[in-house]
Amino acid sequence: MFVRNAWYVIAQSEEIDRVPLKRTVLGEDVVLFRKTDGTVAALDDRCAHRAYPLSEGRIVGDNIQCGYHGFEYNCAGVCVRVPAQARIPERAVVRSYPVVESHRWVWIWMGDAALAKTAEVPDTHWMTDPAWDRVTHQRLFECSADLIHDNLLDLTHEGFLHESTIGDEAVYENGITVEVDGNTVSVDRWMPACHPSALFEKATGLSLADRWHTTVFQLPSLHVIHAGVVEVGGRREDGHLLRVLNAITPATENTAWYFYAFCRDFSVGDTALNELLAESLGGVLTEDSDALALQQVKMESRPANMPDVLIAQDAGVAKARRMMKQLLAAEFRAQSPAPEKVAAP
């Protein structure tokens, strides 16, 4: 079960060109390609004729041609050519999906296309803002999207899983403020007068700092972590600022795409720092990926009557889980047909 009426990142811009790209999201196979005007098209990756994957075909102008019998579909998913006959069957249509390309990420709407028009793509402008620099990664995690959401809303794991890079005891020794506002959950942690972690001592030169991170989870997919370090006693806005973008897109029930961008407002253009961050943060993602894959296996074999034991630091996790259930329930209700009225005898 996935929340479908929402924007999800499906690819990085540079992944999509004139060669069809297959990607599985929310349990559906989608084929992506660029049109001649540079914009992106997304269609169901299954020819209406004999279910051959369209991603095995080729792009012809703004159309995609099936590699099996040559059925050709336009960007709206309507078949416009059947090589073996002049008549085009009425049902020769594949589903097309709304897509938006924004700040180097391509977002897709897998639900009711009419609702996409009124929903804004989340703001990720730090990906292209010249005042910021960034390193990016992309992974397919072998776990459910839910486990990644839990991971990002409870950063106390940094003190153990990422001890050599971004984590230490300051994370779990300092309390949090959890805020719930509409469909957003934020978890704010202020860590005064502490070591800024091994990686950020290298990145900033500070060995003692006030430090913070605020995970803002815009359900159901995007976590923006507003983080930073500043000299002790300084104001947050004067510090070394970070925006860590984590776009989580379920691929299947137990795998998820992880689109990651670590954006900073200091040492912009410093290629040596970019290399250090790319390698170190890639390692952090690998640590997460390995741990969550192990967790997924254990979750699947755990008896149903043994739910997680939550602690106070899990407040954001608990709230987000409940809100995700509410979103799913609301979509289910909206899709369910209204009960038929029975006429009085």
Binding site: G175, T177, V180, D181, G182, I311, A312, D314, A315
Partner: protein, 163 residues
């Protein structure tokens, strides 16, 4: 762990009331401990299973817009004792919280500034528990007195939002 719950995040109940907070937050995961509701009718809160005993405290709060809500706090007797106080904040005050006490503050109007940084609007709520501060400064950040409901759940032992 402070929990700041905006009014748009409260759980709507079939009877027209709202659940502000509850422990456990996800029902039936753990043994029920306490919950806090807003209701048009003081006895109209969400039902508990017949086998569950509860202590109940209520308070009627006239909101800044003139409407009236009943604040209903319930707890399992073995876990906590609930109480509800209604204040009208004209300027500033400081609330004190006991050890093993969960305290909720519900704003009855806009412009309630808590700890100098959390601005609560109408029916927003703040929950303090555990290692959170035992004193809580409040200021009225606007014109006119702000009605405030202060709900206390005095634990018989350690008590939190997450059981």
């Amino acid at each position: 762990m402070r929990l700041l719950l905006r009014a748009n995040a409260h759980r709507r109940e079939p009877g027209g009331g709202m659940e502000i907070a509850a422990s456990p937050d996800t029902r039936e995961r753990e043994r029920w401990q306490w919950d806090v509701h807003l209701a048009a009718d003081p006895v109209g809160e969400a039902p508990l299973p017949a086998s569950v005993e509860s202590l109940v405290a209520t308070g009627a709060m006239a909101l800044a817009d003139g409407s009236l809500v009943h604040v209903v706090a319930r707890s399992a007797p073995a876990e906590a004792v609930p109480s509800v106080e209604i204040h009208h904040l004209a300027d500033a005050m400081e609330l004190c919280r006991g050890l093993h006490e969960v305290m909720l503050v519900v704003a009855g109007g806009p412009g309630l500034l808590v700890e100098g940084r959390h601005r609560l609007e109408r029916l927003d709520a703040l929950v303090l528990e555990g290692d959170d501060p035992l004193t809580l400064p409040l200021e009225a950040d606007g014109a006119g007195p702000i009605p405030i409901a202060v709900i206390r759940l005095k634990g018989t032992g350690q008590l939190g939002w997450v059981p």
